[in-house]
Amino acid sequence: MLGPESFGGFVAEASRAGELVVQPRMGFGTPELMRAGLVAVKHAAATTAGTITLDSYTRVGDHAAARAALDTGADLNGYPIVTHDTATTRAVLRDVHDPSFPVQVRHGAAGPEDIVHALVRAGLSATEGGPVSYCLPYSRIPLRESVRSWARCCEFLAALRGPGVEPHLETFGGCLMGQLCPPSMLVALSVLEGLFFRQHGLRSISLSYAQQTSAAQDREALGALDKLAGSLLSGTEWHIVLYTYMGVHPKTRGGARLLLEQAAALAASTGAARLIVKTVSEAHRIPTIAENVEALEAAATAARSAPRPEAGRPAGDTEVYAEARALLDRVLDLHEDVGRAVVAAFERGFLDVPFCLHPDNPGRATSYLGPGGRLHWLEVGSLPIGPPGRAGRRPRMTAEGLLSSLSYLARTFDEAAREAGSRP
């Protein structure tokens, strides 16, 4: 028995009311903590959606290890939804999950069938991921296999559609690798996964994009995503979800807070409808419930005081848009089946994710962080975009250089917080 359930509808309604929906990435191993977390998020002073983030064992399908961890009381870094029985998960959700508080399951599985079946049994219908974004960085299974598994999951979810239920799926393609991936590739993959979801029956979709290292470039990327989704996903309910920076996090409370506020302002001012937050303790450990609530409320406050997006669609004549458009055109031209097109594109190097170790990733394209925080291509391999500009320094990647690039944003925001703190 499913209750009225429309994750996308809830976000659309909040968006019409001018409210940014804020959402944590929270997940705990025990039902008691998981429920306490959801209750606290629901009652936070913000327009919130709930999250059940799953543990790493469940993500890779090792349910025996999740079982063993529950039995011995060992650490679990999320909620093992396949291992807990359905009644347990329903009890976690009872009187918490309702039309005013939709709950999304977040996982990271390249073959998520067990997970999707478990969440549906528990009365949920919103989750996220995608055949590329949950395969390449997070698994070893062949891309082709992930595409098949995700197609089956989409069709299973889509079949839930009925009075009061509109299943929802969010792409993770815009967050791939967390950091150092040029935004045009993120935008293209987010749109491709959205098209894949639609081809397999979903009618309510969100497109992710993760905050990177340059606010100006992020603005271009969100504008490009909006424009491309507008033209390619017409007739489908969709919204954009921004992720607060997913890379190495600032060590200081002040730095982490500034970063979150910048993400909230970026979301509000570009018309993103939903924001996934990060907490002040992100650099150190898995955050507590209270830290999550604090982050949600801080983000909501920052979003309310940010300038609204200007009327009309953002300009599309940016570098990010041009590259994303070129990638999409080349890939979609390969086959009318989006899944096949994507697999063929990786085989031919028309899609290629820098720093990704998966065997199905061509690994010829590389990227680097420029001095102002913009991400650039270093080598484009066979990508259908122009060769990278030869101006300026073209760095050779070293261990120190990689570390410095990975921690660039953390350093920048920690320093900004220190300076703000020392001002009279």
Binding site: S56, Y57, R59, V60, D62, A65, A69, A74, D75, N77, G108, P137, Y138, S139, R140, G178, Q179, H284, R285, I286, F355, C356, L357, H358, P359, G363, M397, T398, A399, L402, L403, L406
Partner: protein, 151 residues
Amino acid sequence: MNSYPATRANRGLDVVVSGTASDSHTWNLLYLQLFLTERGHRVVNVGACVPDRLLVAECRRHGPQLIVLSSVNGHGFTDGARVIGPLRRVPELAGTAIVIGGKLGTGDQDGERAIGELLALGFDAVFHRPDSMAPFEAFLGSLPEPVTVPC
């Protein structure tokens, strides 16, 4: 599998770098690969989410002098404790140094007892502190170089 042979050095170790079974993070693995190749070692980077059996098979195949497991998802203690037995039971790896490092638990402090446990189970060293690269480098320096270099 991303093999990443360094330019042939006359000295240096054959190293297998790998994530643990449940850990999908790869930046740590890429960093370690660069760190080791810059110091003249030859690295095979097995990648993320490596099932125990695959790790054992890869290590048997490459016969490294050093195996570096890296984990940052909070399951490192559990995953490391499980895989060290099968690795230690491989006769070909009798002389291989095996270490683990990263962010091994989910809490603020990685328990000293858990570290002792990993060492007792057969790891040669555990690098669990944020500033572990200097001790790791010192550990590298303490390992004997291979007598012959495979060509």
